[in-house]
Amino acid sequence: MNVAITIAVVSPDAPPDTHFGRAAAFLLVDTDSGQRQVAANPATSAPGGAGVQAAEFIIRQGAEAVISGSFGPKAYDVLAAAGVSMYRADAGTVDDLLRRYQNGELELLDGMDNATSKSRSRR
């Protein structure tokens, strides 16, 4: 399983970032092999549409699940349309979050509070 965690600095030791769209980077973790890789977020200082751009990026990176403090409504729509699961990171280090994710202890966002009525999906 490929999991992405938003992190606050472009570094493998970085703490988690509380926002998805404008996070500094993503830590991409392959939970099967344990392999970790840092990818800078191209949308971190985008003038607009950062959430959409970050979501597009993380989907291209092959993430199947994302862990972040919060997701904006547009990012949520894009990730949900791509079938990426979103988990809320409340507290703790990257390792804490990963352990709790693997134990099924993180909150899975179901979209009730997040989806925006302004975007239109199809199919």
């Binding site: 549409g49 959409v52 597009e56 547009k74």
Partner: protein, 286 residues
């Protein structure tokens, strides 16, 4: 002739100056007044026009034909604003990110995208009195794109050759201001004699230089602050066309929606003389 009233800093008195200039000149020449501060239009509070016409300001926004779409993702690739994205078996459109550029429509190989008008705001026009016509734009609440509303307002009410057009600009020096003042013949920069006023006057002056527009300065709330604005104007050959002293009685009258020239009728002739000075300067370039 188009005279735009701009400022850089907000709250310096743009609308006070623009409405009083219009009321001073309207008895002598036809005047078209345009309030382009679509995010917070307020000139109508002073001019009290009778609104006779209304029209929607809209922006073309993509609508995708699900049958014709082949999910190639080209639209998402060309969209500079990330207003369209193609993920999995879905194309998502985010209308509030769309700037209406039409790139998605032009680039779609399946001709599966058409544009539908999305309302951004309302344009209104009417008459203050004989010889003084009024129009303004109102951007919808929560809507971030002021520029298309300003552009449509200016197209809706083009300047008439026989009339003087007075434009009340938004504050700042960003896109909405550029859209408002370009094509003008003269820019009146309203400022206050404070370090903050000077800071933004400098930016606004640089903008007029950039657009090659002649400008003059009106110092409002004269008597407060320091001499920075005066020195800046002297150093840059910027004429100080008028000084309006800080006056509490004036402030309280303006707060009730009474125009400056009604509160202090001596300003009628001062504004007329100021306009004559601007008009003379246009005929005899220095």
């Amino acid at each position: 002739v188009i005279v735009a009233v701009a400022s850089g800093k907000g709250g310096t008195g743009k609308t006070t100056v623009a409405t009083s200039l219009a009321l001073s000149l309207a008895p002598h020449m036809p005047v078209q007044f345009l309030d382009c501060d679509v995010e917070a239009p307020n000139a109508h509070l002073f001019l009290k026009p009778e609104i006779e016409q209304r029209t929607l300001a809209t922006l073309p926004t993509p609508v995708i034909d699900e049958q014709a779409c082949s999910l190639c993702g080209r639209c998402a690739e060309v969209c500079q604003y990330h207003a369209i994205t193609q993920v999995g078996g879905t194309v998502l459109v985010f209308p509030d990110l769309c700037h209406g550029c039409g790139s998605c429509v032009i680039n779609c190989p399946e001709e599966a995208i058409r544009e539908a008008p999305r309302p951004l705001g309302m344009l209104e026009s009417g008459r203050v009195k004989a010889g003084l016509e009024f129009a303004h734009g109102i951007l919808n609440t929560g809507q971030p794109l002021a520029v298309p509303v300003i552009r449509q307002l200016r197209r809706w009410k083009p300047p008439r050759p026989d009339a003087l057009m007075i434009i009340d600009s938004p504050p700042g020096t960003s896109c909405p201001v550029v859209e408002t003042i370009r094509g003008s013949d003269y820019i009146l920069l309203v400022t206050e004699p404070t370090p903050f006023g000077l800071h933004d006057l400098r930016l606004a002056y640089q903008l007029t230089q950039h657009l090659h527009l002649p400008a003059g300065v009106i110092i409002n709330r004269d008597g407060v602050g320091d001499e920075g604005v005066r020195d800046f104007c002297a150093d840059h050959d910027l004429p100080v066309l008028m000084r309006i002293p800080l006056d509490e009685g004036l402030a309280s009258g303006l707060a009730q929606g009474i125009p400056l020239v009604k509160l202090r009728p001596e300003y009628l002739s001062r504004f007329r003389q100021m306009y004559e000075r601007i008009a003379r300067g246009r005929k005899e370039p220095a």
